[in-house]
C-alpha cells in the first residue's frame, strides 16, 4: 500500500498539464534522437541538459522532460535498425539482425509496430520493477559506510570497463583519465587548488557537461567527416502500417522473458541496455533452437531484443537512483542531470525528496503510454525525419551543443575545452578505448575520493579498513570478478559483428 500512496504523490506531481506537455515533447524529441543514426541517447540527453538548465525548469519538470527523452531514445533506436540496417544506438544493434530481414521481405510496417509493442512491454515491466525494487534497495543502502561506497564505485568501474572494451587495460585507463580530470580544481577540505597548473579557469574544476558533450557530440562530427555521412538513405519502402496481432500474440512469452532478462542486466552496475538486448536475444534464440528462423526475420528475434533493451533501460535506473551509481552511459548522463539540478541520488533521496523520485516514476509510466501512441500510429513521421541528411543534421547538432555549453558559463574557455574533449573522444574511440568510463570517472571522482578520505580519517589511515565489512569484501570480490571474467568469457559473449560498432555507446 505504501507504494500506491507514494505513486499517488508521484502522479499528483506528474499529471499537471504542463508536465504532461513536457513529457510529450520529451518523448517526441527522444524518439527522433534515438532514430537518427549517430545520435544515441547519451548524446541526445547530454546536448539537451545545458539547454534545459538555461530554460530555468524546476527539478521535477526537468527530470520529466529528460527521462522522457531517455525512454523515447530507447524506443527510437529500433527505427533505423529496421529501416536502414544501422542501429540508431548501440542497444538497437541486435534488432538489426531480424528487423532488417523482415523489413526487406516487405513487412517493414509490421516490424516497426511489433518492436514498438515489445518496447512498451519491456519498458512498462521495468518501470514496475523499479517501483517495487528501488525503495527496498534504498533501505539496504543506508547500511553503507565510506568503505562500502568506495568498493561500490570501484565495482561500477570494473564491471563497466569489463563490458565496454575488448582490452581491460584500456578500459581501466579510461576510468583513470576521468578520475584524474575530476581531481582538478579547488580541494574542498584545504581550500587550495589542486592540479590546475595555475590556470584560473580550472579552479572550479572541469564541468562534467563540457566533457560529456565534447566526448559524445563533438567527437561525432569527426566520425561523420571521416565517413562523409554515408549510409543514411532508406532503401526500404514503408507501406500502410497495420497492427500484426498474430505476431504480437505469438511473441507474448518472448516479450515477458526478455523483459525479465533485460531488467536484471540493467540493474547490474555498468552493464546497461546493450547487454540486456544481447542476453534477451541469445536466450530466445537458444530456446527456439535452429528451426526458429532467427536471423531471417523472425518475429521473436525482433520482440526479444527490443523488450530486453527497454527493460534494461528501466533497470539501469535502479542503481542510479538508489546508490548514485549509474548502470550505463546514458544513466551516467542522467546522473549528470541530477547533479546539475542539485539532487543527490542515493538512499536519502527516497526519504527526503519522495516527490522527485515518485514524480519521476509516474512520469516514466506516462511516457510509456505516450510513446506507445507515438510509435505505433505515428511511426511514419519519424521515418520522414530519418531522411534529414547528415550534412544538415551534424552541423545543427554541433551548433546546439555550443549554444548549450555557452549558456552555462558564457565563457570561451569551456567551449575550447569542449572541442579538446571532442578531439580526445575521436582518438579514444578510434583506439578502442571506451569513453563511458571517462564520463563516469569525471562524475563520480569527487564522491569516490570523499569516500576514501572519510574511510581513512575514520580508521586513522589503516588501509585494511576498506575491507573491514562483509558487504565491502563482497563488492571487492565482485569488482575483481567483473573485471577479470570478461577476459575468459570473451569467446562466449562475442557480439555478432554486423557493422563496425563505432557508434555512440549505449
Amino acid at each position: 500500500m505504501d507504494i500506491l500512496a507514494n505513486l499517488a504523490i508521484g502522479f499528483g506531481v506528474a499529471l499537471s498539464p504542463y508536465t504532461l506537455f513536457l513529457a510529450v515533447c520529451g518523448c517526441f524529441l527522444g524518439t527522433i534522437i534515438g532514430a537518427l543514426p549517430g545520435l544515441g541517447p547519451s548524446n541526445g540527453v547530454a546536448i539537451l541538459i545545458p539547454i534545459t538548465f538555461t530554460l530555468g525548469l524546476d527539478a521535477t519538470s526537468a527530470l520529466v522532460l529528460m527521462t522522457s527523452v531517455y525512454y523515447g531514445a530507447m524506443y527510437g533506436g529500433r527505427i533505423s535498425s529496421i529501416l536502414l540496417n544501422i542501429p540508431g544506438d548501440e542497444p538497437a544493434l541486435m534488432t538489426t539482425l531480424d528487423g532488417y530481414p523482415m523489413a526487406k521481405s516487405g513487412r517493414a510496417g509490421d516490424a516497426l509496430v511489433l518492436s514498438g509493442v515489445a518496447s512498451f512491454v519491456g519498458a512498462l515491466l521495468a518501470t514496475i520493477g523499479l517501483m517495487l525494487l528501488a525503495p527496498s534497495l534504498a533501505r539496504v543502502a543506508f547500511l553503507f559506510g565510506p568503505a562500502e561506497y568506495f568498493a561500490l564505485y570501484l565495482l561500477a568501474f570494473c564491471t563497466l570497463g569489463g563490458m565496454a572494451s575488448n582490452n581491460q587495460a584500456k578500459a581501466a585507463l579510461a576510468a583513470c583519465i576521468g578520475l584524474g580530470i575530476a581531481m582538478i580544481g579547488v580541494d574542498s577540505s584545504s581550500g587550495l587548488p589542486r592540479l590546475t597548473g595555475g590556470n584560473l579557469h580550472l579552479y572550479d574544476g572541469i564541468d562534467f557537461l563540457v566533457a560529456i558533450v565534447g566526448l559524445f557530440a563533438i567527437a561525432e562530427i569527426f566520425f561523420f567527416i571521416e565517413s562523409h555521412g554515408k549510409g543514411s538513405s532508406i532503401g526500404i519502402k514503408l507501406d500502410k502500417v497495420t497492427i500484426p496481432w498474430k505476431d504480437i500474440m505469438a511473441t507474448k512469452w518472448t516479450m515477458l522473458r526478455a523483459s525479465g532478462v533485460g531488467f536484471i542486466a540493467g540493474i547490474l552496475p555498468g552493464a546497461g541496455a546493450s547487454l540486456g538486448s544481447f542476453l534477451a536475444y541469445m536466450t530466445e534464440k537458444s530456446i527456439a533452437g535452429p528451426n526458429g528462423g532467427f536471423g531471417k526475420g523472425a518475429a521473436k528475434g525482433i520482440a526479444a531484443p527490443e523488450a530486453g533493451n527497454n527493460s534494461a533501460a528501466g533497470g539501469a535506473l535502479v542503481p542510479m537512483l538508489t546508490l548514485g551509481v549509474p548502470g550505463s552511459g546514458t544513466t551516467a548522463v542522467l546522473l549528470a542531470l541530477l547533479m546539475t539540478l542539485n539532487i543527490t541520488p542515493g538512499p536519502t533521496l527516497f526519504s527526503e525528496r519522495p516527490e522527485v523520485v515518485w514524480g519521476l516514476i509516474a512520469s516514466l509510466l506516462i511516457a510509456n503510454f505516450v510513446l506507445l501512441a507515438m510509435n505505433v500510429p505515428m511511426v511514419k513521421i519519424f521515418v520522414r525525419i530519418l531522411m534529414v541528411p547528415a550534412w544538415v543534421l551534424l552541423p545543427g547538432v554541433t551548433m546546439i551543443s555550443f549554444v548549450g555549453i555557452y549558456s552555462l558559463s558564457g565563457s570561451y574557455f569551456d567551449l575550447l575545452l569542449m572541442i579538446g574533449f571532442g578531439v580526445l573522444g575521436y582518438f579514444l574511440r578510434k583506439l578502442d578505448v571506451p569513453t563511458v568510463p571517462v564520463i563516469l570517472g569525471i562524475l563520480l571522482g569527487g564522491n569516490m575520493e570523499d569516500a576514501l578520505r572519510r574511510a581513512m580519517t575514520l580508521s586513522d589511515g589503516d588501509p585494511m579498513y576498506l575491507f573491514s565489512s562483509p558487504i565491502a569484501i563482497g563488492f571487492w570480490i565482485a569488482a575483481i570478478a567483473g573485471f577479470v571474467a570478461p577476459m575468459f568469457l570473451r569467446g562466449v559473449l562475442k557480439k555478432p559483428q554486423k557493422h563496425p560498432t563505432d557508434g555512440p555507446i549505449d
Partner: protein, 163 residues
Amino acid sequence: MASDRIFGLVTLITAVAYIAAATQIQTNFFSGEFLPKLFPLMIGAVAVVCSLSIIFKPDPDPAWPQPPTWISMGIAVVVLAFYAVLLTPLGFILPTVFAAGILSYQISPRIRPAILSGIGLSLGLFVLFKYALGLGNIVAYRIPTAAKLWDAIAILIPFVGGH
C-alpha cells in the same frame, strides 16, 4: 601495434607527470598532510600500470583516415575554435553561418547545399532559441569594435592572448 604503442607512451608520460604534480599538491592544517595527495597518486599509479600494459600488449592498428580527411578534420577543429572565441564579440548569427556552412562542406563537399545549410541553420536556430526557448540574451547579435575582435582572436594565438 604502432598506434597503441604511441598511445601508451603518451599516456605513460602524462601519468608520470600527473604523479609528479600530485606530490606537489599544497596542503594545510585543515586537510592534513597526506589525504589530498592520496587519491591522485593512486589514479596515477593505476594509469602507469595500464599504460605499460598497452605498450607491451598492443592491439592491432585501427583504420586511420587518409590525409585529405585529416585535413578536413583539422579545418573543422580550427573553425570550431574560431567559433568558440567569436561567439562573444560577434553574437550567434554571423559566426554560425560560417561554422555550420564549413562543417557541412566537410561532411559533404558540395558548395550550394553547404551555404544553404549554413544560412538555414543559423536563422532557424536563432528563431528557435530566441522565440521558442526564450534564450534571446544568449544568441543576440552584436557589432564589435576591431579591438574586441582582435582580443578574441588573440586567445587562440599561444603566448599572445592570456587567460
